[in-house]
């Protein structure tokens, strides 16, 4: 299903993979803060975009226990696509929500050839499938991608159960249509 509003929270459930096409949308920090109120949450940051202060501010707006609630948030960063694979293969299977930010950002590196990127994405997706079995998983992706790596975007969207985007993203018409998984 292809949704136009970025309200992921109600859709997050174990067994369902959510994909959001966004450029650091303001709703992602809010999602993380909301999840932290409810319990532990893991963020795997592949886009070097983890908005720490923003999240802390949002927690403060929702609660006085900023310190203890912020302790629910676990973050790990990957700076290359090989680190991304390592990140996913070393993620333990706990039942709490897993957010993967900028899954494909590190794949944009022009030192990584498309064939290699494809192989690494296969590894990542198999680990993500494994995670979905025990926890709610959501992925964010930057909509703008180099032509030669666009197929990666398609592959991730094909695996998704729900795809979210927002009006404010300047995704060209042709691209929007190409994100429809063939259901």
């Amino acid at each position: 299903m292809y949704r136009m509003r970025m309200n992921l929270l109600p859709q997050l459930k174990t067994g369902s993979l959510l994909v959001a096409l966004t450029n650091q949308n303001a709703l992602i920090p809010d999602l993380i803060a909301e999840l932290a109120l409810r319990g532990p949450v893991t963020v795997l940051d592949g886009g070097n975009c983890f908005p720490a202060y923003r999240i802390a501010q949002l927690i403060r707006r929702k609660s006085l226990q900023v310190d203890s609630i912020s302790k629910h948030i676990f973050v790990r960063r990957a700076f290359t696509c090989y680190q991304m694979v390592n990140l996913l293969e070393s993620t333990l299977l706990f039942g709490y929500p897993q957010l993967i930010l900028g899954l494909l950002t590190t794949f944009q590196d022009d030192q990584v050839k498309p064939a290699e990127a494809d192989r690494l994405l296969t590894l990542c997706l198999s680990h993500i499938e494994r995670l979905c079995l025990v926890a709610p998983v959501a992925i964010t992706l930057e909509p703008a991608i180099l032509a030669e790596k666009e197929f990666l975007l398609k592959r991730v969207c094909e695996q998704a159960d729900e795809i979210f985007t927002s009006h404010s993203e300047s995704v060209p018409q042709e691209k929007q249509l190409s994100f429809f998984p063939s259901t």
């Binding site: 940051d45 070097n48 975009c49 983890f50 720490a52 202060y53 802390a56 501010q57 403060r60 900023v66 310190d67 912020s70 960063r77 700076f79």
Partner: protein, 85 residues
């Protein structure tokens, strides 16, 4: 290199930007003082950073207070000197 978080410098800049509507509605002379308050906070960027606060603005305010206290102390000293001739 590898930096994910905004630096405190960037954080103060972003905070200032968020308050731009507030600043805009001030008189020109007040705007100058407003900028001065932020300039005084910038003098203590390292100390603010070292605090590792989840909500840095609280520490930014403390730095602003510190500079104000310094100014008051200096003024008091000046008055004392003038009084004693």
């Amino acid at each position: 290199m590898g930096r994910t978080l905004s630096t405190i410098t960037q954080y103060i800049n972003e905070t200032e930007t968020m308050l731009s509507s507030f600043r805009r509605a001030l008189r020109r002379s007040d705007q100058y003082i407003f900028d001065g308050i932020f300039a005084s906070a910038r003098k203590h960027i390292t100390a603010i950073s070292q605090t590792d606060s989840l909500l840095p603005f609280e520490t930014v305010l403390l730095a602003m207070l510190l500079e104000q206290a310094k100014e008051i102390s200096a003024l008091r000293h000046e008055i004392e000197q003038k009084r004693n001739g």
